[in-house]
Amino acid sequence: MDYTSRATAKTPAHIIFLIDISESMAQPCYGQPRISVVTRALTEVIFHMMDMSTIMVGNQPQIRPRFRVAILGYNEQVYDPYGGFVSIDKLAQTGVPTFQPAGETDMFLGFQAVEKLLDQFLPTVGSAPAPLMPAPLVCHLTDMEYNKGNSPLALVERIKSRATGDGPVLVENVFISDSALRTPISSIESWPGVRSEAELQGSFAVELFRMSSEIPATYLDTIQYWGFSNIKPGSRLMFPGANPELLKTALVTTGSSGGASRQSTYK
């Protein structure tokens, strides 16, 4: 239970991207619709995972199934274009799905779908060969405000109570908004992370904070390596994605799952 398991072909890291695709995601962000910025960042992070999964066998590169990824979109419904988890070697062939923003935001529904995915998958973890699989990571991208359905807080707590031998399920929130932090970020490198509710403004931001897991100590180095170089212990897995660069950096941190990103040239 210490988040040290590595992502390997036999013990892949499971990552669920839960993406808010409500109408507000069509609003512009640095000249592009927010959803386009998300899609681009997601494409980069999938490329990053491919990089971490590529080995050379003889003189032939080969992608090993070290990551299993699910990509869910939600508004008033949930869209699961892959039908659950797909391994990174398969994802390399299909690419990232595109979503059309529309409708209202039912965040509870989105996390319900996450729980169902975990229900299917977690019972099988115990039978995985040692070393144990890395704890699954749920990466939620949103522009924050849900306007339909119940608060997902209790549901997310239940999700976080599920565990593999590596540790409880981790929930990360990436907020595509520049109004959540009381002190705006001056640079990615100097940002210390979010450690208390007092650093946030607005009830939705506080709710996201409560949903977010604390960054495991073993992931801290990796997150610092990928750009948030001043992030402090005790910070939550809660990152701003208010501009394309921030969003990309926030998403790349998902590669901390399984520890494989420690040795890479991709940056």
Binding site: T4, R6, A9, D51, Q60, S264
Partner: protein
């Protein structure tokens, strides 16, 4: 000439389960060399960066270069004491040859454009490795040298078991040696009087999970037993270990019977841990170098790879010719 010293070493070298399954190369490289009089052992453990371009090339090449150079520096020290900046100059000067070895590799691509992009991206950055190396000089009044770059696991323990190196300098993932740029960052370097040293331990990421066990070992025999127990285990990353006990306090006879140099180690069981009597018996005459000759003739095996003979350090390079 009375040496008044002895040393014993244990190594372990095994591919990750994934590499064993696919036939990918071991990206760790370990190397050692004992000088002709048996008083100095040079060693290195290089951990090729998995996400770099053909990380095994950087690790194997640098291991060979470092061990050869370390032995030379120990026996015939440079006019000026080696410092971190001068070591960096040496390391930088080796990058061109390293790059030539990388360029000799012909990569064949399948049709997946994303995969092509991954490999091309890696190629642009070159082959990378981190390392921990050094020499242990067992001559009377000798000082030993240790050097490292990047995120490595190395420590020199004093007689009281206390670590003598600042391991906070071994945590930076950005620091490494590359065939493209030479050093990214500056190597760390430290001299320690050999009299102070109880044990030298270095291991790669594959053994990270048992780090506490490895560092808590009390003597060479216990060390050998633990390493033997690793033989049947599965590792999520390539796993390498090199452990040196400069003063094991065993007699020559004990050394010969308890920790023989096993030259019959079969090539098809290459990663069985092997213990080396570097210099069994205190006060042995330097002219009695039979054990050392045997040591220097030890073959080093890599699973699914050709036998490599350690007689001349250069002969291990290239590793897959």
């Amino acid at each position: 000439m009375a040496l008044g010293r002895s040393a014993r070493a244990v190594y372990f070298h095994r591919k990750s389960a994934d590499a064993q399954e696919t036939g990918a190369k071991n990206e760790d490289a370990i190397a050692w060399q004992v000088n002709p009089s048996g008083e100095i052992i040079s060693f290195t453990v290089c951990d090729g960066v998995g996400g770099s371009y053909l990380g095994y090339i950087a690790s194997n090449y640098l291991a060979a270069m470092l061990v050869g150079a370390l032995n030379g520096w120990a026996e015939d020290p440079p006019a000026d004491t080696l410092t971190a900046p001068t070591l960096r100059d040496y390391l930088d000067s080796w990058k061109d040859e390293g790059r030539i070895w990388v360029e000799k590799q012909q990569i064949s691509f399948n049709a997946n454009p994303a995969l092509v992009e991954v490999v091309k991206n890696r190629e642009r950055h070159g082959s990378h490795t981190v390392f921990f190396c050094g020499y242990v000089d067992c001559r009377a009044g000798g000082a030993s040298l240790f050097a490292w770059m990047g995120n490595v696991h190395g420590q020199v323990f004093g007689k009281d078991g206390q670590g003598l190196l600042d391991t906070s300098t071994m945590a930076d993932d950005r620091v490494r040696w590359t065939t493209k740029h030479g050093c990214l960052g500056t190597p760390n370097l430290k001299y320690i009087p050999t009299d102070m040293i109880g044990r030298v331990l270095v291991f790669s990421d594959g053994l990270e999970k048992i780090a506490e066990q490895l560092t808590g070992i009390g003597d060479a025999a216990e060390d050998a037993a633990l390493v033997r127990s690793l033989a049947g285990q599965v590792f999520s990353d390539d796993a390498s270990l090199f452990s040196i006990w400069p003063s094991p306090g065993v007699t020559s006879a004990e050394g010969a019977t308890q920790l023989p140099i096993d030259e019959s180690l079969p090539p098809d069981n290459p990663e069985q841990p092997l213990e080396l009597n570097i210099r069994p018996g205190e006060g042995q005459e330097a002219t009695d170098a039979s054990d050392l000759s045997a040591l220097q003739d030890l073959p080093v095996w890599e699973q699914n790879g050709p036998t490599k003979i350690w007689r001349r350090i250069k002969s291990i390079w290239p590793p897959y010719s």
